[in-house]
């Protein structure tokens, strides 16, 4: 016993690679899958307590302990120990006739309750999927607050213009009459040396301002840096208090001043840089230069590129700084079905933060509500704010409960304002989604659409449509969803989806042996990430938006550094370019070097990691966890063996082969790519053998000769398509697909196929499924 246990522990293997260790097991419900699939909804045995429960308890408590209206409303869910439950039934149940269910019977009833619905685990196991009441997820909360404030601050979308508005003055200050140059600068990166910006401007003393916005794609912590030997002030998302103030300069050496900001993706932020060079007594030949740089999340420092700068003006964005505990992702996607004390505390701190912010900017927030007294201004504001927060206008009862009652009871309007807003922001009507039972109205639809597409509240257009009650039929909803799909917020959400699907969020820690792979450093890794994201963005947001292209394209985005490392002829000194490569060597995401590197060891490939990834993420199949854990220890093998030979040897037992007969051929088909994703034909002095036979869930044998064969199979596999649909559904709706009907996912798959595999159209169909749920079917 102890021997087998210690062996079991000592042999813990694949946790080796932090990557697969965090792979979550999506349980795709695929029919006739020969791999063992657990059906979480199957009740396996009929317990003797069932008939007793039905006869003696169900009348008041409902068939599954849900309670019966007006008889016994409370449900029978809880966490008392089993023995206690038996005792309660024995001593007190049925009500008023406790002698009718005692001893053995009480024990059996308790057993039945425990196994089927009493505990949270039992409920999860046995109850069919349903749409669960969910609080806003962390990202939904942040976006909603930004949009709620943005409604009053008139936040709007960004246009196509890029670069920053630049003004150059022939003076130490921005003296109007000394304005000499006005133009758009694509980036801020200038070395004036000892000269002036042009010959109209004195080289000893000048002033430049750059104005505009920073276009942010990903949510996260951004570092902003200004590199210069001169003086400057820099403002970001706040026109009053500078983020960096360096008007006092010592010496004339180039230094970088940095600051960190949390920014929400899919939005733009006002920025202003005021830069100057000034005369210094008795000092000649002073130099000037300036560079505006950043370090976005998961990336390395760089000059802020033109595509992330806009010359337009942007209003403030309210980014909540309060940290929330992360969402539950135990089913493989973030959802808001659990709450905790820490979460509730965060909603309080965040609400107080929002209220402070509104009070600090009250003129801007309440300009539409100007009334004779501050009391009245605040009151009117609270009513509108509350309706927006609840995603439907207040009714009279709500006006009274959340606003009037409080304002009438307090003399100090600011305190009433704070209490009213706090009550609104702490209200379940604000914090929870999917609450309402009963008929679906246009406001429900608007809210479902915006959360499915954007993870945020309805914008003013959706709000107006809801107010006009124009969201009651599928065609109207579909039209609107089609418009919403091109919004930057949908792009942000879609990017989050691919982060998850391709495990990008977990791949920050890739580390390769520096001797074996010289040049594979953090910068290269950041470039690889960019390359993969550019490719996915390009495919998804192109006209065709073809799912299959994600797998079949032979194009790769490269910059000079990547091209040099991967030995591709390339001649674009700056930026990324899309390059077509040999179709035999590259096939979409399947062969993207970022993924191939992530799914490999420090020095060698890992066909098992790659095979498991392909099985779960790209083919949408589930894998039973291994019955026995065996560690892959490279040092235990004859060093002359190829990786394929080692893995075959390691997994040759019958028990292993139940799953590895699927995993291995998939992983082996990628053996043409080394641990950093370079194409190779030789492993350990032997030609790479990437051949294999993969058996589909339908029992069809697919012969694979390499990556392209694999990609082609994934592209046509219906099981893989259902898997993709399910992942996207989870990400967008944050509810199980089956909660919307047994066949929902299969129907969506058919629609995907019917629309030439258009991913954008799939997103629209998913939004429609969610938004129109419960509406009468089209006649």
């Amino acid at each position: 016993m102890s021997l087998s246990f210690s062996r079991y522990l000592a042999l813990l293997s694949l946790t080796f690679c932090g990557l697969v260790s965090t792979l979550s097991a999506e349980e795709s419900q695929v029919a006739q899958d020969p791999l063992p699939v657990q059906n979480p909804h199957a009740v396996t045995t009929t317990l003797p307590g069932q008939s007793i429960y039905e006869a003696k308890c169900a009348k008041c408590h409902g068939n599954s302990g849900e309670g019966v209206a007006d008889v016994y409303d409370e449900n029978l869910y809880g966490d008392r120990p089993f023995a206690e439950l038996v005792k309660i039934i024995n001593d007190t149940m049925p009500d008023e006739k406790p002698e009718e269910c005692v001893g053995e019977e009480a024990q059996q009833v308790a057993e039945y309750m425990y196994e089927t619905f009493y505990t949270a685990t039992a409920r999860a196991k046995h109850q069919p999927p349903r749409i669960e009441l969910s609080r806003l997820t962390v990202s939904q909360y942040q976006n909603t607050i930004a949009d709620l404030a943005g409604y009053f601050l008139s936040n709007g979308p960004v246009n196509d213009k890029r670069g920053l508005q630049a003004k150059y003055y022939n003076d130490r200050r921005s003296k109007k009459e000394e304005l000499k140059i006005e133009r758009i600068d694509p980036v801020v990166q200038f070395d004036f040396a000892t000269a002036g910006p042009n010959d109209q401007i004195n080289e000893e003393e000048f002033f430049v301002s750059w104005n505009g916005g920073l276009i942010v794609e990903e949510t996260g912590e951004y570092e902003i840096g200004i590199k210069t030997q001169n003086g400057f002030e820099f403002w970001m998302n706040d026109s009053e208090e500078p983020l960096i103030d360096r008007r006092v300069v010592s010496g004339n050496d180039v230094q970088e001043q940095t600051a960190t900001l949390k920014l929400l993706g899919g939005r733009s932020y006002a920025l202003r840089l005021e830069f100057f060079k000034e005369k210094r007594k008795d000092q000649k030949n002073l130099t000037a230069s300036v560079e505006l740089r950043w370090k976005p999340p998961h990336k390395e420092w760089e000059t802020i590129p033109e595509r992330n700068l806009s010359p337009e003006w942007f209003p403030k964005v309210l980014v909540v700084k309060t940290t929330f505990p992360p969402d539950d992702s135990s089913l493989g996607y973030a959802r808001g079905t659990s709450i905790s004390r820490a979460w509730d505390d965060s909603t309080t701190y965040a609400a107080l933060e929002v209220i402070d912010y509104i009070l600090a900017n009250k003129k801007e927030f309440t300009r539409k509500h100007k009334a004779d007294s501050e009391q009245e201004t605040f009151r009117k504001f609270c009513i509108e704010f509350g309706g927006l927060a609840f995603r439907r206008p207040f009714n009279d009862d709500q006006k009274n409960f959340y606003v009037d009652r409080i304002f009438n009871g307090l003399e100090n309007p600011t305190e009433a304002f704070k209490q009213s807003l706090l009550l609104i922001l702490k209200s379940p009507n604000f914090l929870y989604l999917n609450a309402k039972a009963g008929p679906v109205d246009s406001f429900d639809v608007a809210s479902r659409l915006s959360y499915t597409m954007w993870d945020s509240m309805p914008d003013s257009h959706l709000w107006n449509e809801a107010q006009a009650d124009r969201l009651q039929n599928r065609d109207q909803i579909s039209d609107l969803a089609n418009k919403m799909v091109n919004n930057p917020r949908t792009k942000l959400k879609m990017r989050g989806f691919f982060d998850h699907l391709l495990q990008l969020e977990e791949a920050d820690d890739i580390d390769k042996d520096a001797d074996t792979f010289p040049g594979f450093d953090a910068q290269l890794l950041a470039d690889l990430r960019t390359s993969l994201l550019l490719f996915v963005d390009e495919v998804v947001w192109s006209e065709r938006s073809d799912f299959r292209e994600l797998l079949l394209s032979n194009d790769l985005y490269l910059n000079q550094r990547l091209a040099d490392f991967y030995e591709v002829k390339f001649d674009h000194p700056s930026g990324f370019e899309r390059v077509s490569l040999d179709t035999k060597q590259r096939a979409g995401v399947v062969t993207h070097p970022f993924l191939l590197s992530a799914l490999a060891y420090h020095k060698s490939t890992s066909p098992i990691h790659r095979g498991v990834f392909v099985t779960r993420r790209l083919l949408g199949r589930s894998l039973k966890p291994p019955p026995m854990a065996i560690e892959f220890m490279d040092s235990r093998f004859d060093p002359n063996l190829t990786m394929r030979e080692k893995v075959s040897e390691l997994t040759k037992s019958k028990t292993c082969m139940t799953c590895h007969s699927v995993i291995n051929p998939l992983g082996f088909s990628l053996e043409h790519y080394d641990a950093v994703g370079r194409f190779r034909t030789i492993d350990k002095d032997k030609p790479v053998d990437a051949s294999g036979v993969y058996t589909t869930p339908e029992g069809v044998q697919v012969t694979l000769g390499g990556a392209r064969d694999l990609a082609e199979h994934i592209a046509i596999s219906e099981v893989a398509q259902v898997g993709f649909v399910e992942e996207l559904f989870h990400h967008m709706v944050k509810q199980p697909g089956a909660a919307y009907g047994d066949q929902t996912l299969n129907e969506l798959r058919d629609k995907l196929a019917g629309n030439d595999f258009n991913i954008k159209k799939l997103a629209v169909e998913i939004a429609l499924t969610s938004a129109a749920f419960g509406l009468p079917e089209k006649k």
């Binding site: 522990l9 813990l12 932090g18 260790s21 449900n75 966490d79 107080l352 820690d509 966890p625 854990a629």
Partner: protein, 438 residues
């Protein structure tokens, strides 16, 4: 959250030291041996197993020598216990790192779930309460041991994701407690604005009514969540009520501003969190605390001690890799130094109203999710205890034979007056409280 300026921070925290109700050197707080003793417990966690041959003393009993990793604890040698031979015997779902973490303080299996760790069976959250929460509830249930917050959960660089690798404290089955990484946020929780608290108090009744009304709108299955929500609001209300009478013995620590929550700032974050922890104990805001460095499988890169590689990565290298081995010793020694900083503060701080130091009334337990990184063993889990809060016989190196750690958790409870029969999985409590500790 990061603050740009000190003013920004104080504005957000809503207070300055001057605004807090201090009672320093008042007669009522002078030595008074009649007041009941305040026992306290701190559980400090660092991940990925230790390096056994540089960690465990070779000898047992009262005469023992500290090896490299524990060397920094030399000044506390007569106030410490090393407990070798304690095993986490909880089996079932989840990989060793997950069980090592989520069963460490709960002593009970994980629920089946969908979090896949390497090649073991997937699992969900722990299926029971953890010892820190059990003791917190015990203290909070009695007027004489009640404190405003009960327990505090400090994190240092715990990644921002919730899974069985990142959580060791559980309020109950399926209810992981998130550690707070951000010292500024913790500061706000400890000393946050009095005025905001008043505003909050005036609406909490309404929030409960709101939840109650809302409950009528949702399906029967969903009410459970709202009932839980109502419970939380009620607890907040009670906590605020308790805070009305709170007086503080000492002011909050002075903080540097704008220290960002990132890997390279770990030494500074660690110090800030420890300062706050000690401060919260002096001020009797809580009597139980956890201090969690990164997470199970944690990958800190300790560049400040010359280790560029990720901790978890190194912990997998084979024993004969001397370079990695030395780095792991360095990493674990760094953690030992954090422990020393903590116990040093406790030893040098007077427990208000007594003639004793905080360390006389506090036990710090330093532990880990694994015995050793590259074998993933759950045997010989590092347990180093420092301080006299639990009234154990200190100054010894003990060596047990594969005793279930449940029995040790049970001992913690008993020594704090909570005489549980079993803790965690009852089968693992055979024999009761771990022998030879007192």
């Amino acid at each position: 959250m990061s603050y740009q300026t000190r003013r920004d921070f104080l504005k957000r925290a809503g207070c300055s030291a001057a605004a807090l109700p201090f009672l320093i050197n008042l007669p009522s707080l002078a030595s008074d041996d009649k007041q009941p003793r305040k026992q306290r417990l701190i559980i400090m966690f660092s991940p990925n197993g230790t390096v056994p041959e540089h960690f465990w003393p070779d000898q047992t009993g009262e005469t023992f020598e500290l090896k490299t990793i524990l060397k920094p604890l030399e000044p506390f040698k007569n106030r410490m216990l090393t407990l070798k031979g304690i095993s986490n015997k909880v089996r079932g779902d989840g990989d060793s790192h997950m069980r090592g973490m989520s069963c460490l303080l709960t002593g009970i299996e994980l629920f089946p779930g969908n979090i896949q760790g390497g090649s073991d069976t997937p699992a969900g959250w722990a299926s029971g309460i953890s010892i820190d929460q059990e003791l917190k509830n015990f203290f909070q249930s009695k007027a004489e041991t009640q404190t405003r917050l009960g327990s505090l959960h400090f994190g240092v660089q715990v990644p921002n994701r919730a899974d069985p690798w990142t959580r060791m404290s559980y309020a109950g089955p399926n209810q992981p407690v998130a550690p707070v990484n951000d010292p500024y946020q913790m500061f706000g929780r400890l000393y946050g604005s009095m005025k905001d608290r008043q505003t909050l108090t005036s609406i909490l009744d309404d929030v409960r009514e709101d939840l109650n009304r809302f409950k009528g709108l949702v399906s029967v299955e969903d009410r459970h969540l709202l009932e839980q929500h109502t419970e939380i609001v009620r607890a907040t209300e009670q906590e605020i009520l308790a805070s009305k009478d709170q007086v503080y013995a000492v002011p909050p620590p002075e903080f540097a501003v704008g220290v960002e929550d990132k890997n390279d700032n770990m030494p500074e974050l660690s110090k800030m969190q420890i300062d706050l922890l000690v401060n919260s104990f002096v001020n009797d805001v809580a009597r139980v605390s956890t201090l969690q460095y990164t997470n199970s499988v944690g990958g800190a890169r300790m560049k400040w001690i010359g280790v560029e590689e990720s901790h978890h990565g190194l912990s997998h290298d084979p024993d004969n890799n001397e370079e990695s081995h030395q780095k792991l010793v360095k990493i674990n020694t760094w953690f030992a130094e954090q422990l020393v900083y903590l116990v040093d503060q406790l030893a040098n701080t007077k427990d208000p109203g007594t003639d004793h130091s905080l360390l006389d009334n506090t036990t710090v337990v330093w532990t880990n999710e694994l015995g050793k990184g590259n074998s993933h063993t759950l045997d010989d889990i590092p347990f180093v205890l420092v301080g006299n809060g639990l009234d154990l016989k200190m100054g010894r190196a003990l060596h047990y034979k594969e005793e279930a750690h449940n029995r040790l958790l049970l001992a913690f409870a008993h020594q704090m007056g909570h005489k549980l029969e079993t803790f965690g999985k009852p089968e693992l409590c055979t024999g009761g409280v771990l022998q030879d500790l007192v």
